[in-house]
């Protein structure tokens, strides 16, 4: 690491001790229950009842209300707190025992088969006894109202026993989730065809399926005052650098937001520079890419309710790599990679070059090209800059319309709009047909970027450059290029330089990011991951064994 940028954004609002990484067993226990997801502090609270909520900024500390021992008051309290919703179910099991839950938030069959019969057969019940007797793994006892409510909302049944200041909560959440489908936005030809869905637990289990390793760490963090969204911070211990993990953890903990719906918001919030046009953190819906990056030393974040995983730190060049590159033979994958780099330049600079050349620098056009170029422009009444902006706008509109409409209609719109508008525009003499080719080429190039976020950036980049080119020709383009270069150099991802491995130059990583090296030479670690263990940083070992077998 050659220059450490000062971290001024992730100010330490909370110290690290406040969110200790939970132990491994605990997390695995959670995973064994297929559909549980939101159980963040049950284990902690059973051990230490007297302590208030420790790890959540959303908990209201100004609420010292204890649980009433009287059933009526308790039910009233609950109703008042959650504004007596229509789906609140209250059932009096026996004289003393009352259960409360929110309909459809819990698993009804477990309630019926395991909880109710047990409760009915019970005598001399105390909350502690109920906790011991119920044959379910996640039963806890609370003494604070706010905790009770919070837990209930994640999918728990409250068992209140009259005469006690404590309640037992049985956590049996029923979460509706979409079944696993193939990733739509990051499809690939060869390789696994499964994408993340919106359930955090399913996503974590997907990752566990790829990486059967006890070193895979899964930390829970909650974000959002209103939404209480759970995040899972994932990394592989010993591979991911301690520094990166701490930075991510700090940034997540110091997030001061009201609501979070999707991981993309988190990604933008914990970015090094949120104002930049370029994403510094990757969003992916591919579990295989996610795992691949975890293995190469990155830190991953999964957000409940979002089908996109977050990975950091990322460098500029890695946005243009696809997981599929590793599945293809290396010369072909290299070719594809180089094609993508070329596509960035075509996409950003081709139309501007056309505009600049035709507006100011007619001298540079060779004679054979002069005639077709000028003849195609002859009928066009606008200067090249307007012509280009007009066509680019059409393409953008078509793309946006295609993205918003249902797939089938979207496709039709794309084809019909493209052909009809294109042909008509040329016939009407509004644009030249050479420009149509160039604009289409640029659009096509922008779509080769494997990452959607980066693809958007690459596409939008063109517009300011076209305007600069239309005003000041090559000088304007160079201005844009310099500003772009400086901008990229100024960026960092988790404090690590964004333009690595170009600058600072890391020759080994550079070779691996421009060329897809054959397996024996692949470097596992990503440029900025700073993997300490040299053994984990290469893929070499496995291949050597294979060679021995052959001999």
């Amino acid at each position: 690491m050659f220059f450490r940028k000062k971290r001024n954004k992730a100010s330490l609002k909370k110290t690290l001790e406040q969110s200790p990484p939970p132990s491994q067993n605990e997390i695995d226990a959670e995973q064994s229950q297929p559909s549980t997801s939101k159980s963040h502090k049950d284990d902690i609270t059973t051990k230490d009842l007297s302590k208030g909520p420790a790890n959540n900024s959303t908990a209201r500390k100004d609420d010292p209300e204890t649980i009433s021992s009287s059933t009526e008051i308790f039910v009233k309290d609950i109703k008042k707190r959650i504004h007596s919703p229509a789906d609140l179910v209250i059932r009096y099991v026996s004289d003393t025992i009352t259960i409360l839950y929110i309909d459809n938030l819990i698993k009804e069959d477990i309630l019926n088969e395991k909880i109710l019969p047990n409760l009915q057969n019970m005598n001399e019940e105390t909350p502690m006894r109920i906790q011991k007797l119920l044959p379910l793994p996640r039963v806890t006892v609370f003494d604070r109202m706010n905790e009770v409510i919070e837990t209930m909302l994640t999918g728990a049944v409250i068992i209140h026993v009259a005469g006690h200041n404590l309640t037992t909560l049985v956590i049996i959440p029923a979460r509706e989730a979409r079944s696993l489908t193939s990733p739509e936005n990051e499809s690939q030809v060869i390789g696994s065809q499964v994408g993340f869905n919106e359930s955090l637990s399913t996503n974590v289990s997907l990752i566990r399926r790829y990486i059967l390793n006890p070193n895979l760490v899964n930390e829970k963090i909650k974000v959002g005052k209103q939404t209480n969204t759970s995040l899972a911070l994932l990394y592989i211990d010993g591979v991911a650098s301690e520094q990166n993990i701490n930075t991510v953890r700090q940034r997540l903990n110091s997030l001061d937001v009201r609501d979070i719906i999707d991981s993309a918001e988190i990604a933008e919030l914990i970015d090094d520079s949120s104002l930049s046009l370029f994403p510094q953190i990757l969003l992916t819906e591919r579990p295989d890419r996610f795992c691949d990056d975890l293995l190469s030393g990155k830190v991953g974040i999964l957000v409940d309710g979002s089908s996109m995983g977050i990975l950091c730190p990322y460098t500029f060049i890695e946005f243009f790599q696809s997981r599929e590159d590793k599945n293809l033979r290396w010369p072909i994958a290299t070719f594809v990679r180089l094609l993508r780099f070329l596509a960035i330049f075509i996409s950003a600079f081709f139309t501007p070059l056309y505009v600049a050349t035709l507006t100011f620098h007619y001298e540079v056009i060779p004679q054979p090209l002069l005639i077709p170029l000028s003849e195609s422009r002859a009928k066009v009444p606008f200067p090249p800059i307007l012509e280009a902006l007009f066509l680019e706008l059409i393409i953008e509109l078509l793309r946006e319309a295609g993205a918003r409409l249902p797939t089938k209609i979207g496709q039709t719109i794309g084809i019909v709009g493209g052909i009809v508008l294109g042909t008509a525009a040329v016939d009407a003499g509004i644009t030249s047909n050479i420009l149509i080719i160039i604009v289409a080429l640029c659009a096509l190039s922008a779509f080769t970027t494997p990452n959607y976020m980066m693809g958007n950036t690459v596409r939008v980049l063109r517009f300011p450059i076209i305007i600069l080119a239309g005003f000041w020709g090559y000088y304007g383009i160079m201005f844009a290029f310099c500003m772009l270069l400086i901008h990229l150099l100024r960026q960092s991802s988790l404090g690590a330089p964004y333009m690595s491995p170009f600058y600072p130059l890391r020759l080994k990583s550079l070779a691996d990011s421009i060329v897809r090296l054959p397996y024996p030479f692949i470097i596992r670690k990503s440029p900025n991951a700073r993997v300490e263990d040299p053994e984990l940083s290469t893929m070499q070992a496995s291949l050597k064994d294979q060679k021995k077998v052959k001999e």
Partner: protein, 376 residues
């Protein structure tokens, strides 16, 4: 983030002000007329006739060439006058050829050359040529088969230079010889022939003025002395006795055509005072055509042939050099060799002009026929 904003605000402000200030005049491709050829000639005393061949694109999707001419004392003045007669701005960035009329060549080209060199708009790679006769009538006559005169002349000159049928005459090379105190330049001569244009010869200049002409055929000899060539073609008329009595034809000469000629020349100063040069040309070629029914399989005959080719070439080259000495135009740049090989030569224009006609050159040609065709 707040910090960033406070900094970016003045930044953006300056940028937007700049946007308003820094406007520049565009040259949109189809809204300008591109002069592809400009001709200069002299009429009367000091009046300069400027004729421009321009390409214009009109909305009917056809490009047409426009020829305008006018007289004034400077070329920019001429351009301004032409501008009065055209609907679009005239630009010279796509200029390919500059032609000089015979009258102007007699008067001197120095100022015109300097004007062309001074302009940053005009490339160094455009060709210069001289026109035999009146330039205006040459350009304004109606060539039926030539839709675009400027481009046609450009391609005509370019391909002939590539084939080494004409001396290379880019602005750069001409001005290089012009400024080099010890060399003179040569320009190809264009001539109208019925409905066509052809390269009819080579004009030799001295101090910017035309002093003599050579026929177009001699271009190859000049090229051979000037430079190493790698793809030339030539036809030679050897004496009929070259191959003994085998010849049955009744012609006076034995015609031989050679192609794929690779030549390498070496010039060394033998005597500094006279001065005397040794010029040796090594020539590898292919025998392409021979108007004789002799079997050219035998090594002896090939040797004989080579000997005669050497003789013939030597005499031709000598003739060309002698002519250039007569008119005192050092188009072969012997002066540069002299300067390069003689320490402290301290050459200047006058000194070399005096020395050049006295110069002696010993020409040796060593031709080698490498192969002939596929049939013997």
């Amino acid at each position: 983030m707040k910090k960033l904003n406070t900094f970016k605000l003045p930044f953006l402000l300056i940028a937007s002000v700049m946007l308003l200030v820094g406007c520049t005049e565009p040259h949109i491709l189809e809204r300008i007329s591109l002069a592809t050829l400009i001709g200069y000639d002299l009429t009367g005393e000091d009046e300069l006739t400027t004729t421009a061949v321009m390409r214009q694109i009109n909305p009917d999707l056809e490009s047409k060439t426009l020829i305008q001419s006018t007289t004034s004392s400077t070329s920019k003045g001429g351009r301004k006058k032409i501008e009065l007669a055209t609907s679009k701005e005239i630009t010279t960035g796509q200029l390919r050829v500059v032609l000089f009329g015979e009258e102007l060549a007699k008067y001197g080209l120095d100022y015109r050359l300097r004007t062309i060199m001074m302009s940053s708009e005009i490339s160094n790679a455009i060709y210069l040529a001289m026109v035999e006769g009146d330039l205006k009538s040459f350009l304004e006559s109606d060539y039926k088969d030539i839709p675009n005169l400027g481009q046609h002349i450009f391609q005509l000159i370019e391909h002939n230079i590539e084939q080494q049928n004409a001396v290379s005459s880019t602005v750069h090379e001409i001005s290089r010889d012009d400024f080099s105190r010890v060399a003179s330049y040569a320009l190809p001569i264009l001539k109208k022939e019925k409905d066509d244009i052809k390269i009819s010869g080579i004009a030799l200049f001295h101090k910017g003025k035309i002093v003599g002409t050579l026929s177009a055929k001699d271009a190859f000899y000049i090229q051979m002395v000037r430079d190493n060539s790698d793809n030339g073609t030539m036809e030679l008329n050897l004496p009929i006795t070259t191959l003994g009595d085998h010849s049955l034809s009744s012609s006076k000469y034995l015609s031989v055509a050679l192609d794929s000629i690779r030549s390498k020349r070496r010039i060394t100063v033998v005597d500094q005072t006279l001065p005397e040069f040794n010029l040796t040309i090594h020539l590898d070629c292919r025998l392409y055509e021979i108007i004789s029914n002799v079997n050219i399989d035998e090594a002896e005959i090939i040797q004989k042939l080579e000997k005669e080719i050497n003789k013939k070439l030597e005499s031709e080259i000598k003739r060309v050099i002698q002519y250039s000495q007569e008119v005192n135009s050092d188009i072969f740049r012997f002066g540069e060799y002299y300067e390069a090989q003689v320490r402290n030569a301290n050459m200047d224009v006058e000194k070399w002009s005096e020395m050049y006609p006295e110069m002696k050159v010993n020409v040796t040609v060593k031709a080698k026929i490498l192969r002939d065709g596929v049939f013997q």
